[in-house]
Symmetry: C2
Subunit: 348 residues, 2 copies
DNA sequence: GATTTTCTGGAAAGGGCTTTCCAGAGCGCT
DNA sequence: AGCGCTCTGGAAAGCCCTTTCCAGAAAATC
């Protein structure tokens, strides 16, 4: 026999006020400590009544009355991806400081889903929206997104992006991907590498473009060729990296180093090497990008371009909570090359 | 000169109705597609007006009027921890299916923060709250939490936990930690191991207790001793695992295998071995628990007890969205031992 | 053609809280 | 004693929607 659960709606402020024998206004003043003083006796009565009735304010009603909420929205590609989860952790830490609640949404790199989530968060009257992760290089997407963000901002919302989101009307914290990639190439050239392979991600991701341009620029400058056959798309996932490395190895290109445009893909790439008996770095050097925490625990530890991921999250939140300015703010963040054992001078 | 941003509050439904020359009721009916039919002409006028005014419904007002929201709260220890982020990804995927928005909060294993977040989510009138990650073995915490959850449920909220949360009034999806640990021990015994070390976590975490009891039980049954000196607390973090393994190695206990109660700690432990030149598994076998995705990419790949993390998240959400029953539901999930290269028969 | 039934808009009553504005009380001062 | 102040509670007006109930019109029925 299934007994219906008794669900009486929770006590309202009015119930508390009545039970305490004061007006709604007084009860409200007691419970959210406005700057007005309430006689101690009333104060105590209200507090007692609230406790007694297990009063729990209705955040929706408050949001409506105050016409402001204390939630921020975070839109990212995938929480299970360590790159995003570390950034998200930073955001959440900072949000806690500001007494904000975080609504989080994963798009799985689907632009439409991203647009839909922005709408939803706008409807929620989130105080701010954080777009985390590379934007898309897609005319239609950009147009729509720009329109939505404008509308959201016009109604008082704040927006910040982490990573390059083209010209969207938003503050932005952006790693200097181009420079980081160039620095990485330089470091590898210094080690003596001359034959580069690259595992990239989908070209519609702006981050991917920036990084590959950084690589290309530095290689060009050094007069080192990077034939298209040396560049393989790995879809920005671990498995993609694995598959791409296999393709690269199958092609027998005699590479001395492979630059992988994200650590997550690099992890897959390293495993591909291991599975095929290719020794890193003895037979082939491998470098990643992002420096997610786990890569120092790989064997060999992965050379990467370090980004202060947690800090990116914190900064984005701080940016969005600070006084807005009329011009969009751009915070550039350098990426530092961290050489680890996955790269070494080539044998030949 | 800083120009104040113009923030006109966004258009209300009333504005849309007025602009379309219809009543509020009609506009509402058009926009959220109730089952009532509206004359095509009105319908079009409303739609046009809404578009024109960039109408965006106020979710708070809707929540208030409907007295139900479409958000679920997720409380976990730390999103940056892959164990949680993978579960969270599962939750979010399922939430998307149900058209739910996820509010996520990290407690950093602070019981007070957990309690506070439950309150906040109750105030938000979240449709459900998911408590992810081990509960605490603390009388005071349990009492308070139970009271809060009861109040929340009484007002119509649903609650589910992933992992053991003692007797809290909530549905629960729980890995069979004890059995998993026992199976792991058995597999290691079968490999010939007789000298076990253990890296644990804080004993107030119920999960830790269950796992260690599982280990102990199986070892006892096999007549293998596990002296207290062989058990070291690693704080459930990568660095804790690293430190704990160092302690264990310092103690020169002549262990043949170390069971680490979570993969995250095991990762640290493996790195400690590497840094000290202890070869795994040649000199020492190491096994973890959880089977987070990354461990197959470690070198050596880590033996672990596989939990279907993503699925745990999905199931918890499904549980909480299904028709509630009068008795708390308990879904047990088996953990399967996955033997990988980090464990091998001991040399001696 | 008259009557009943079916439709479809609109008015209005909430939903739970904040906050302004007002009135009365208590105070100090001359 | 009389005046003006400050101080504190309370009434009430929102905040923006949803949804019930009602009435009028159109359709269906005999």
């Amino acid at each position: 026999m299934v007994r219906k659960a008794e669900t009486r709606p929770s006590a309202t402020l009015e119930a508390v006020a009545r039970s305490a024998g004061v007006s709604l206004a007084t009860a409200s003043r007691v419970l959210n400590g406005g700057n007005r003083i309430v006689k101690a006796e009333y104060r105590d009565r209200v507090l007692a009544a609230a406790k007694e009735l297990q009063y729990m304010p209705n955040a929706h009603a408050q949001a409506l009355a105050r016409s402001t909420s204390s939630t921020v929205g975070v839109i990212l590609h995938d929480v299970a991806d360590p790159y995003f989860s570390v950034i998200a952790a930073g955001v959440m830490r900072a949000a806690h400081q500001h007494d904000l609640l975080v609504m989080m949404a994963s798009t799985f790199r689907d632009p439409d889903r991203e647009l839909a989530y922005v709408q939803t968060l706008h409807a929620q009257r989130a105080k701010a929206i954080l777009l985390i992760g590379s934007g898309f290089n897609d005319k239609e997407y950009l147009t729509k997104m720009e329109a939505q963000l404008r509308a959201y901002r016009a109604s008082g919302g704040r927006v910040a992006c982490i990573s390059n989101h083209s010209t969207l009307p938003a503050d932005v914290v952006v790693p200097d991907n181009r420079q980081g990639a160039a620095d990485l190439v330089q470091a590898l050239l210094d080690q003596g590498h001359r034959s580069f392979g690259v595992i990239t991600g989908p070209s519609r991701l702006i981050t991917v473009n920036d990084r590959i341009e950084g690589l290309r620029g530095a290689l060009d400058k050094a007069g080192v060729a990077l034939p298209d056959t040396h560049v393989v798309d790995g879809g920005f996932t671990r498995d993609g990296g694995y598959a791409a490395m296999n393709d690269l190895l199958d092609a027998k290109l005699d590479l001395s180093v492979v630059c992988v445009l994200s650590d997550v893909m690099a992890i897959g790439a390293l495993s591909a090497c291991r599975d095929r008996g290719v020794s890193v770095p003895a037979d082939l050097s491998v470098a990643g990008f992002d420096d997610i925490p786990i890569v120092r625990d790989l064997q060999p530890p992965l050379t990467s371009v370090h980004l202060p991921l947690d800090e990116l999250g914190v900064r984005a939140l701080e940016l969005v909570m600070s006084e807005p300015t009329s011009r969009r703010r751009i915070q550039r963040v350098r990426g530092d090359v961290v050489m680890r054992a996955s790269t070494s001078p080539p044998k030949r």
